[in-house]
């Protein structure tokens, strides 16, 4: 079993796995997101308080969750890369950054659009919104730092350190609705015990969560292949790999 872990540090192995896995992840993502959108937009009953506006939940909540998840993945990959000096981990971190940043932007924009009918304003400087905005800035900082170095290996390490330092923001985002009196709604799904949301509304939402996760996996596979190629250009296995 441990040999599998060692294989994960091998660039050609990871490249091959990513290439093989991508179509499956993408296909499953399409199915789950498709179901989530159709059921959520077309068949779930309107909320008695928010009417049909609540349907924004189907894109807002999964993207917000993913923005935190992808950042955590990036930070963990960065830490692994720094501690054990595994280049593939740097590739994972580099590949994840633009995906996470775009999902953070999606969460902010959809949240803003949802805020207007619900709270009467497109924006509020409340803890959750502010910390999510900070997350976007940190993503941009990590990507900028990586590209600012002439030596790509050094850029990887600097970006990894910044990602780890910035990770302190993620629990702040997550618990901001618990720690402060926030305008933003508290946890509805992730609470232990029965989620406080109706079944016919819940299943499409869960499907969207799964779909976004699978989609991240698929895009990660694509970007990871590119990142691995860029870092291993000089290696022998690359010649065979790029023939496809």
């Amino acid at each position: 079993m441990w040999t599998w872990f060692y294989k994960l540090a091998s660039p050609p192995y990871v490249y091959g796995v990513a290439a093989a896995l991508m179509p499956w992840l993408l296909g499953l993502a399409a199915v789950t997101i498709g179901y989530g959108l159709i059921a959520g937009l077309g068949f779930a009953p309107p909320d008695y308080q928010q009417g049909d506006a609540f349907r924004i939940i189907y894109v807002h909540v999964p993207s917000a969750w993913m923005s935190e998840f992808v950042y955590t993945t990036m930070a963990v990959a960065g830490a692994i890369a720094l501690i054990w000096r595994i280049k593939v981990a740097h590739a994972v971190a580099a590949a994840s950054a633009p995906i996470g940043a775009s999902l953070t932007l999606l969460a902010l924009v959809t949240g803003s659009m949802w805020g207007k009918p619900m709270w009467g304003t497109y924006w509020a400087w409340d803890p959750r919104l502010t910390s999510e905005l900070i997350l976007l800035f940190v993503y941009v900082g990590v990507m900028s730092l990586r590209s600012a170095f002439e030596d790509p290996a050094r850029g990887d390490r600097a970006a990894a350190l910044l990602a780890v330092v910035g990770a302190v923001n993620v629990p702040i985002i997550h618990y901001s609705v618990v720690w402060w009196n926030s305008l933003h709604q508290g946890a509805t799904v992730a609470k232990l015990g029965k989620p406080s949301i109706a079944g016919s509304m819940l299943w499409p939402l869960l499907s969207m969560f799964v779909g976004f996760m699978l989609f991240y996996g698929a895009v990660l596979c694509l970007r990871l292949q590119g990142e691995v190629l860029n870092r291993e250009r000089q290696s022998a296995w690359v010649r065979e790999a790029i023939k496809s």
Binding site: L145, A148, A158
Partner: protein
């Protein structure tokens, strides 16, 4: 002659302070910037003093943030340029001690100076006298935390082209919670409610940063220097 850890620490702090005082104009620059920035807000908004009080904590803090950033950028620069930093790194006491000493010395001459100047600025912005204690305490804790965040940012960006823009891009988002709590504490003190909660949070942030940042900043320097 071997030097103990604490001895090395204090020696470096003294060296930094001595170097700083050799160029007093360099020490004055962030302070003057602080004064200028705080002046910009009332000029731009043309508010009466009583209304200025409402935005005073925010203005004070943003100005302190920006002036600290200006000076922090150069925390490691001159030593990195002439090779002293590498010598210190090789000295056998570990980069962490060097970083901690330099950052503390930097705070003593910059952050602490801002805190001492803040009553003048506070009066100019209409902050009442009884909020001064909170203002001073929050600024002291905040600038100290900021010095540590700046050390990490400076460590990551030495020698980069347009490194100062990147430095601000990295440090400012990390400093936003500081701004929220610091300005919040002063704000509460002005309006009369207890600022204790915000001050405790600020102190917690400070302790958290002070304990972990030296290691992060040393790691950053190792990455950029090797």
């Amino acid at each position: 002659m071997t030097v103990g850890l604490w001895e090395a620490f204090w020696l470096i702090v003294q060296r930094e302070m001595r170097l700083s005082f050799r160029r007093p104009e360099q020490l004055l620059q962030p302070l003057v910037f602080f004064l200028i920035v705080t002046t910009l807000f009332p000029l731009g908004l043309s508010l009466q003093l009583s209304l200025l009080r409402d935005i005073a904590p925010g203005v004070l803090w943003v100005a302190a943030l920006l002036s600290s950033l200006l000076s922090l950028d150069f925390l490691f620069k001159s030593d990195a340029d002439d090779g002293t930093l590498e010598q210190l790194a090789l000295s056998g006491h570990g980069l962490t001690v060097v970083v901690a000493a330099k950052t503390l010395a930097h705070w003593l001459v910059t952050g602490l100076a801002l805190v001492l100047v803040s009553p003048i600025v506070g009066t100019a912005l209409g902050i009442p006298l009884d909020a001064f204690a909170t203002m001073l305490l929050s600024l002291a804790l905040g600038t100290l935390t900021l010095s540590w965040l700046g050390a990490i940012g400076a460590g990551l960006t030495i020698g980069l082209r347009r490194g100062n823009v990147l430095f601000s891009l990295i440090v400012l988002p990390l400093a936003m919670p500081l701004l929220i709590f610091g300005a919040g504490a002063t704000d509460r003190a002005i309006s009369g409610t207890s600022a204790a909660g915000a001050l405790y949070l600020l102190a917690a942030l400070c302790v958290f940063t002070c304990t972990l940042a030296p290691f992060a900043a040393a790691a950053a320097l190792r990455i950029t220097l090797e």
